[in-house]
């Protein structure tokens, strides 16, 4: 028998501690809601208690003392898209590009960074960007506070390493480096500006002279989780970027991808597109490094 989406209780705690306590006390059947743009589409039947984390003061963006950036879990996509501290700033810039590519304006006004990460969608735009930017996810749970490297967060489609009573509090991004730039590209079904990614990529490269010192290539919608194309990235490191090198990096990334067929595209198309998108994103990022 289906019971539909029928939570029995809603709570709007005022502090992270209170939120965690509510989750712990209730145990299974408790769930977190922030912007609601994913939860109220999925409408999970098992939820009994909804803990609203949007009133915990997690909607700030702060530059940290050592030059890093702390983005609160409840910062919305719309806020990230326009934040002047983020737009075009080295590895941070991919976040605002990804935020701008996420959903419709009404969704961007509500969808949060923390939600986009916690849902564990392989196609999550912000997750791919945070992956490329080498972010760390700060969480709070029962008696613990963790800093999880983003690549450790995802376990599979819709699955993360977060405990049921653990919430995302913030994302920490490393300081932008000299000569660093990124790019986010999202392939959608054609003639559509609003869509879940068929394939997405976020790349961050750091150039010194003509040489690539560091590269990170993240891919979306081509595996069970957002993923890093580590071989393609290490292939680039130490190389002078040429059209050919960039093309090869794309091809390596395509081999690393583990796509599946679904309603949006076939696995083989996705794999081909990884090569194209990674190459184009690297060309864009490389151009930005030079600019």
């Amino acid at each position: 028998m289906t019971r539909g989406f029928a939570p029995e209780e809603y709570a709007a705690p005022q502090s992270v501690e209170e939120a965690v306590r509510l989750l712990v006390d209730h145990g299974p059947g408790a769930g977190v809601i922030a912007g609601g743009t994913d939860l109220l589409v999925r409408r999970p039947e098992e939820l009994e208690l909804l803990v609203d984390v949007s009133r915990l003061g997690l909607d700030g963006v702060e530059e940290e003392e050592r030059g890093g950036l702390r983005v609160g879990a409840c910062v919305t996509a719309a806020a990230l898209e326009e934040d002047v501290r983020v737009v075009g700033r080295g590895c941070w810039g991919v976040l605002s590009e990804a935020a701008a590519a996420l959903g419709t304006p009404t969704v961007r006004n509500r969808a949060t960074l923390g939600g986009n990460l916690s849902n564990g969608s392989p196609a999550a735009d912000l997750a791919v960007a945070v992956l490329a930017a080498e972010g760390k996810v700060e969480t709070a749970g029962s008696g613990i506070r963790r800093f999880i490297p983003i690549e450790k967060l995802f376990r599979g489609p819709g699955q993360t390493c977060l405990h049921p009573d653990e919430i995302v509090v913030a994302v920490h991004l490393p300081p932008p480096q000299v000569g660093e730039a990124g790019a986010f590209l999202k392939l959608r079904r054609h003639q559509t500006a609003v869509d879940i990614a068929t394939v997405s990529t976020a790349v961050v490269v750091r150039m010194e002279g003509g040489e690539c010192r560091h590269a990170r290539i993240a891919l979306g919608a081509v595996a069970g989780t957002p993923m890093l194309a580590t071989e393609a990235a290490s292939f680039l490191t130490g190389k002078e970027l040429t059209a050919d090198v960039v093309r090869q990096a794309g091809e390596i990334a395509a081999r690393e991808a583990r796509p599946i067929d679904d309603i949006r595209a076939s696995a083989s198309y996705r794999r081909q597109m990884v090569a194209v998108l990674v190459r184009r994103a690297l060309e864009t990022a490389w151009g930005r490094c030079r600019a």
Binding site: P7, E8, L40, V41, A78, P105, T106, N109, A193
Partner: protein, 160 residues
């Protein structure tokens, strides 16, 4: 089931309501407050017909719990011409023949208002992007976009 007490300002009037945890904002606005200009076209935030302004920002009222609107200010299409005079956007939509079946119109006008409240001289591209959450099956968006740009012009003139 535990109901939550919600206090919100809807179209300028304070409303105190008891809402259940599963109730969405759209359910309350339509079912309880009789604001039937708020439409529901998909229930998953894709179509934009349930768009309302929440503290000035366009949101899908189907993707928000009513309880989450506690302490917020909400504007629906009914509140836009509350004093009997039409908003410049409404006038422009009427004049420019930007309305056909009319089911998307309230949401689209509100999404446009959120844009114009922030930017009174938007580019055509910015207008299109601002209403990209509002599907229209009738017009091809041509006349709605022209109407929004015309309303912006009018509002700039009025502001002078």
């Amino acid at each position: 089931m535990t109901a939550s007490r919600v206090s919100m300002v809807v179209n300028g009037a304070r409303r105190e309501l008891l809402v259940e945890p599963h109730e969405r904002l759209v359910d309350i606005l339509r079912g309880r407050l009789g604001l039937l200009g708020v439409k529901e076209g998909c229930g998953e935030g894709e179509c934009g017909t349930c768009t309302v302004l929440l503290d000035g920002k366009a949101v899908s009222s189907c993707l928000m719990l009513a309880a989450q609107a506690d302490g917020c200010e909400i504007l629906t299409i009914e509140g836009l011409s509350a004093e009997g005079t039409l908003h410049p956007l409404q006038e422009a939509f009427i004049r420019e023949a930007a309305i056909q079946c009319g089911y998307c119109t309230p949401g689209m006008i509100l999404a446009a208002k959120a844009l114009l409240d922030r930017e009174l001289d938007p580019s055509e591209g910015a207008v299109r992007r601002a209403i990209s959450g509002n599907i229209c099956r009738c017009t091809g968006y041509d006349k709605p976009v022209k109407a929004i740009l015309a309303a912006a012009r009018q509002m700039r003139e009025d502001a002078r």
